[in-house]
């Protein structure tokens, strides 16, 4: 498996970095289908944003790409391929060659993803040695280089510090350093900037952007902060209740949303508070995870819903430069104010 993996990636100018097709995931030991037939792709060098509320399935999707689905969650349909390798057929040993070398990850609350008792530099060095054959001394040098690369002003000093002694922003930089040390093609960022304050957020975004530009890194950026997504991502994929309801180039989707849910989200965002967490201005609540509904899953809260919307499943259809899952997409002319670009 590993050999074929390498072969695939060496010819991978056309293989998408992430290829998700009809992915379905159940949670609670099969009790509920939390992700339904989700499909999207990330090509080399692209940055794709996954947006949606908690429970919409975006986190489950990105965890599948990393092979860290919680116990009780299973992929029940479709495929998800990282650099060509289908995760459903990847063994535990193969995951070790995938992780770090093909895909890296950063998360919310970066400090909690580091061992609190070991200096951060050693953890970077450890990650380097896991993906290369460098000696301890060489790996240490490389680790310091990486720390400098991600913007640490005193990498040698930071190397020796424990996670508890660093700020949130610095910790996230450390996680980024670890994530890219194996030179992966894909960086998964799950709410990576959510817990950071605004100036630090901007810095981390700049960091990700510069890495993207200098290394051709593709980024899967999960967030419910639309402004951040607007700034970073080429394309955006909107999740609702386990399904994709809209995709398209970021600017298009945010300035000219085609799905009522996206439109509602934009309306909330454009009220001026981009860091608002709850989208509870939309009346009602999303369906329970895995609830089986005969028709559109947003119909109950949709201001444009008709009786027919709830009768038959709605397909995701191409629409303009992207896709949308709405019966009435062509009829409705939905315009919304674009979120203002924040100054860094």
């Amino acid at each position: 498996m590993t050999a074929s993996l390498l072969r695939e990636t060496s010819t991978a100018t056309t293989t998408p970095v992430l290829d998700v097709r009809d992915l379905s995931i159940t949670v609670g030991d099969g009790a509920a289908e939390a992700v339904r037939s989700v499909s999207f792709r990330i090509e080399r060098g692209e940055t794709v944003g996954l947006v949606g509320e908690s429970g919409s399935g975006k986190t489950l999707t990105c965890r599948t790409a990393l092979g860290i689905l919680a116990p009780g969650c299973t992929v029940t349909g479709g495929t998800l391929a990282v650099d060509g390798a289908d995760v459903r057929t990847v063994s535990r040993r193969d995951w070790r060659s995938l992780r770090g070398r093909h895909v890296g990850a950063v998360f919310q609350d970066p400090g909690s993803y580091l061992n609190p008792s070991i200096p951060v530099g050693r953890q970077v060095r450890e990650a380097i040695r896991a993906v290369s054959d460098l000696s301890r001394r060489q790996a240490r040098e490389r680790a310091i280089e990486l720390l400098a690369l991600v913007g640490m002003r005193e990498p040698e000093h930071v190397y020796r510090q424990l996670p508890g002694e660093l700020s949130g922003g610095m910790l996230q930089r450390v996680l980024v350093a670890i994530a890219i040390c194996g030179d992966p093609n894909l960086l998964v960022a799950d709410e990576a900037t959510t817990a950071l304050d605004v100036t630090v957020q901007a810095e981390i975004l700049e960091l990700i952007k510069s890495l993207r530009d200098s290394r051709g890194l593709s980024v899967l950026f999960v967030s419910h902060d639309l402004a951040v997504v607007a700034e970073l991502c080429d394309r955006v994929v909107v999740f609702y209740a386990g399904e994709i309801v809209e995709t398209g180039p970021t600017r298009e989707v945010l300035e000219n949303p085609q799905h009522p849910y996206t439109r509602a989200m934009m309306r909330v965002a454009s009220l001026g508070d981009y860091t608002r967490r709850e989208l509870d201005v939309i009346p009602g609540a999303p369906p329970a995870v895995g609830a089986a509904l005969p028709g559109c899953r947003f119909a109950a809260r949709c201001e444009f819903a008709q009786a027919a919307c709830s009768q038959a499943p709605v397909q995701l259809t191409p629409h303009g430069a992207g896709e949308v899952r709405c019966r009435r997409a062509d009829e409705l002319v939905l315009a919304a104010t674009a979120p203002e670009r924040r100054s860094a």
Binding site: R92, G100, N115, S117, G121, E126, R160
Partner: protein
């Protein structure tokens, strides 16, 4: 103290005495000393005070029934018994620190000699028992924590419940019956010094050490399981996995390091129990150790010997706890201030 050892990263960096790791260690050491010294003093004081409870007059005991009051007074003076209590204690402590623990009331053999003869036995017993406890407890704990909720987990829990409720000597008796008397694999009695014949030493010490270790092993297993389950749920485990680290490495270098603390604490707390339990185990296996010495001396009311045994065993306990505390400090540097 080898400060250089603290910077394990290949290239040495300058030693910053005032802040940083050197200062952290010095502060921890200072705190440790500040705590252990009073403890040692209090412990020895209690031990010495025990002797004062006696209604036996040592002088009379040594001199016998024919002693005249003058003889007794002279003896008292020799023993230093006519001085105030605190002064007696200080002198006794001073002598003890030099290795002089007095002489047996009856045989006049220096207590330190008798103890030194028998100490290796108990040390062997205790050390091997500690190793067994750590291995068995550690192994069971890891096993249960990595298969939570399964029959493996439930079996381990049941085993722990059973063996925690059995005193060491009962286990010892069962082992003697099973392995020594019936199956004749191991010897049932006696001791062979390590220096004489390592193989025989191990054979003789195996059963008693195993019996001694079980109760502690079970406590350790339970504690480790709880800590491991908690650590395994932490985000940094996911972080480590996501980096491509080998699962074995994640478990040993990261998880166990953080989970071991409370288990190590349990081990430390069990050391007095084990040292005390060694006494009884000696009886079951006929090992000529400190326990036998203490019991026979106690029957004869030979106080200096018994005090000597007590102070030596307490000192061992304190020493062991010091080691445990230092290890805890090294395991979790983030938690020392």
């Amino acid at each position: 103290m080898a400060i250089g050892v603290l910077t394990l990263d290949g290239a040495g960096t300058g030693i910053d005495w005032r802040s940083g790791r050197a200062a952290r260690y010095l502060r921890a050491l200072g705190r440790g000393v500040g705590i252990f010294v009073p403890v040692i003093l209090l412990s020895t004081f209690i031990t010495y005070g025990l002797g004062a409870l006696s209604d036996t007059n040592p002088a009379a005991a040594v001199l016998g029934e024919t002693a005249t009051p003058a003889d007794i007074a002279r003896m008292n003076h020799t023993f230093g018994l006519d001085r105030p209590f605190l002064s007696q204690y200080v002198h006794w402590l001073g002598r003890a620190l030099h290795g002089d623990l007095g002489r047996s009331y009856f045989t006049q053999i220096p207590v330190s000699t008798s103890i030194a003869q028998r100490l290796p036995i108990d040390l062997s017993l205790a050390l091997v028992a500690i190793v067994f406890a750590a291995l068995i407890g550690g192994g069971l704990g890891v096993l249960a924590a990595t298969h939570p909720g399964t029959w493996i987990d439930r079996t381990v829990t049941a085993i722990c419940a059973v063996f925690m409720s059995l005193p060491a000597f009962v286990i010892g008796i069962v082992l003697v019956v099973a392995f020594a008397t019936t199956l004749r694999i191991f010897p049932s009695a006696g001791y062979v010094p390590f220096s004489l014949d390592t193989g025989q030493w191990f054979l003789h010490i195996l059963l008693p050490a195993f019996a001694l270790s079980l109760e502690t092993a079970m406590s350790i297993a339970r504690q480790l399981r709880t800590s491991l389950v908690r650590e395994l749920a932490q985000n940094y485990v996911v972080g480590a996995e996501v980096r491509g680290l080998r699962p074995a490495r994640v478990m040993t270098v990261h998880v166990l390091r953080n989970a071991a603390g409370p288990a190590l604490t349990v081990l430390g707390a069990s050391i007095p129990v084990m040292i005390g339990g060694a006494v009884v185990t000696e009886t079951v296996f006929s090992l000529p150790g400190l326990g036998q010495l203490a019991v026979s001396s106690a029957e004869q009311r030979d106080i200096p010997v018994v005090q000597g045994v007590l102070i030596v065993t307490s000192a061992l306990v304190i020493l062991a706890n010091l080691v445990v505390n230092i290890s805890l400090g090294k395991l979790r540097p983030g938690r020392t201030r």
